[in-house]
Symmetry: C2
Subunit: 162 residues, 2 copies
């Protein structure tokens, strides 16, 4: 995690890869999305999706996992360089989640997020809001999932009141 | 799950309740959102959230769980009444997820969704799209989470081509 001041619009963060194993698909779906096309290979083969695929909520939750781990790596590097470690803030919400392609067992998605906007909080000028466009692509480079993200980040140098 | 034809705009579906135990918060966060305010009570107490609370992705994933179980109950009732059991479709995406209040360990949320729109798929007139507004309220009735949902549902009587 960097300070709000250090996020540049247009910057692309590489969040890394995740392979959706059959076991992880079944485990997530059993707990959160127990539909036949996420749980049962034969029923999935007969469904509109044509085969077993991951819950869209798993695809989204894996974004969050990779994002948190990435921000922690950045914070660790800052700390190792003797810099202050900014504190994580929460997200007020996200939007436009799009599940564009089924994610099959064994498939690997590559997640990135691009900074598309930033502003200082009106009510708490020591916090800023960063907006991102999240993308997850399969091994063929096709977009399988996208989302608009938002997160509060600490401001290093809040604007002074007049 | 009903047919698309049977969803009425304005209809409110009661999806039921879920209690966010400390164990379920830690388990979800450990896997998908390993931030201190979702994992560590002392760090959470010092954070902007003021105490341990559930990942927003858990709040959203629990909506999906309750929604699927509700649609399966409706389908079971149809089947018991000798009616056809419509097949579930996927969701093309959702939007405007808002995490409005922290969800603490031990809190119970009540989930509802209201049908706010419906249209037949242009490319596949045997499928229709249902839009909903999802809400989750705490025991005091305050809105903790909201979202705009979308799902494909089978059409019982597709419009005839001229």
């Amino acid at each position: 995690m960097r300070y709000w001041d250090e996020f540049d619009i247009g910057h692309v963060e590489d969040l890394g890869h995740y392979t959706f194993t059959r076991e992880s698909i079944l485990r997530f779906a059993g707990r959160f999305d127990p539909q036949p096309f996420h749980l049962d290979e034969e029923a999935a083969a007969r469904s509109v999706l044509g085969g077993l695929c991951a819950s869209g909520w798993q695809t989204a939750s894996i974004f969050m996992r990779l994002n948190v781990l990435h921000q922690q790596r950045v914070a660790d590097e800052r700390a190792a360089a003797g810099l202050v470690r900014p504190v994580f803030g929460p997200s007020p919400g996200v939007g436009e989640l799009r599940w564009l392609l089924p994610v099959r067992a064994g498939e690997t998605l590559h997640y990135t997020q691009t900074v598309i906007g930033k502003r200082i909080s009106a009510s708490r000028p020591d916090w800023g809001l960063i907006s991102t466009r999240v993308e997850a692509r399969n091994e063929a480079g096709a977009l399988a999932f996208s989302m608009l993200g938002k997160v509060f980040v600490q401001v290093e140098e809040p604007p002074k009141a007049d």
